[in-house]
Amino acid sequence: MSSSHDKPVDPNQVVLWSDDYEGHDVISTRTFGFWMYILSDGMLFATLFAAYGVLSYSHSYYTGPTPAQFVAPWYTFIQTMALFLSVLAYGFSMASLKTGSKAGVINGIMASMVLGIVFVGLDIHDVLRMISIGVTPEVSGGLSAFYALTQVHAAHIFVGLIWMLVMLYQILRKGFTEDVVGRLISLRMFWQFQAVMWVFIYVFVYLWGYMS
């Protein structure tokens, strides 16, 4: 046995528990909970990637157009940069939160929103271009899977933009309360995770589709 057990325990002096309640750590608990949600969202993307994987054989497109005929890699690369810059701007906004700078946080979120709107605008423009040349979801199973995966991601970006608008209002209205700060951290993880998913969509759907 260890030497600490050699000393007799004085029941009047031993400390068994803390005198005061340290408080429930709301931000850590909520952040971990929201991280669980984000990973579930990742499983949603896994099912859509799996659907695209099994529906991107050449017979999946039958005689219709394949991604090699309608994907424009450099156009989608500009979309990629808009999203990455938006995520960077949100990160800088969160770095301003460290000093409690309201102006820094608001400017960062507004820059992030503008770049996010650029991403969604480019996506809508791309979809309209594809529809105009007859590339629509009902043409083939392959195109249905392509649209489902890419547009579910675009819908996440749209929801993120709405959330940013709500957070701008809450920062102005309530300031940096525990609730507002917790939500800003959840939104940071949500926004950054969309960039991680976009890496896979860009490389495995757009680039791989273009080269095959």
């Binding site: 340290e22 408080g23 750590d25 931000i27 850590s28 608990t29 952040t31 971990f32 991280w35 990973l39 990742g42 499983m43 896994a46 990637f49 799996a50 659907a51 994987g53 099994v54 054989y57 050449s58 017979h59 497109y61 039958y62 005689t63 890699p73 450099w74 690369f77 990629t80 940069m81 990455f84 810059l85 995520v87 960077l88 990160g91 800088f92 969160m94 770095a95 939160l97 460290k98 000093t99 409690g100 940096f176 525990e178 700060v181 951290i185 940071r188 993880m189 950054q192 995770f193 960039a195 991680v196 890496v199 896979f200 860009y202 490389v203 495995f204 680039l207 791989w208 080269m211 095959s212």
Partner: protein, 121 residues
């Protein structure tokens, strides 16, 4: 998990934000995506090495973003986020991989070659 801060700004989850780390993640991911785009649009490599290269670019870009942006590391405050992600990755890979494998075997055995239909790949 308890920190006992009354001011939410002082919470470690807020204080771990870092401009340098976010900028590093952005630069690494952007350069890798640029490299993948140049390689694919230029068609300088044979298809299979090209596929392996862009897969590598995607993997490294995702790791850079997860480490530098999402703060997934083994520090005391973040360890459970990291554990959850480590548990998540096999589910993600198995969901996509097994589905793809099942259907590729099914197509191999059931798809007849119809005249005029594009071939199996």
């Amino acid at each position: 998990m308890s920190h006992g801060h009354s001011n939410p700004i002082e919470h470690p989850e807020v204080q771990m934000a870092s401009r340098g780390s976010y900028l590093t993640g952005f630069i690494i991911a952007s350069l890798l995506m640029l490299a993948a785009t140049i390689l694919v649009s230029g068609q300088v490599l044979a298809p299979f090495p090209l596929l392996l290269t862009i897969m590598g670019c995607a993997g490294l870009a995702a790791i850079a973003q997860i480490y530098f942006l999402l703060h997934i590391d083994i520090s005391e405050h973040n360890i459970w986020n990291t554990v959850a992600l480590v548990m998540f990755i096999p589910l993600f890979v198995i969901t996509i991989g097994l589905t793809w494998w099942m259907f590729s075997q099914l197509y191999l055995r059931t798809m007849p070659m119809i005249p005029g239909m594009p071939g199996m790949h």
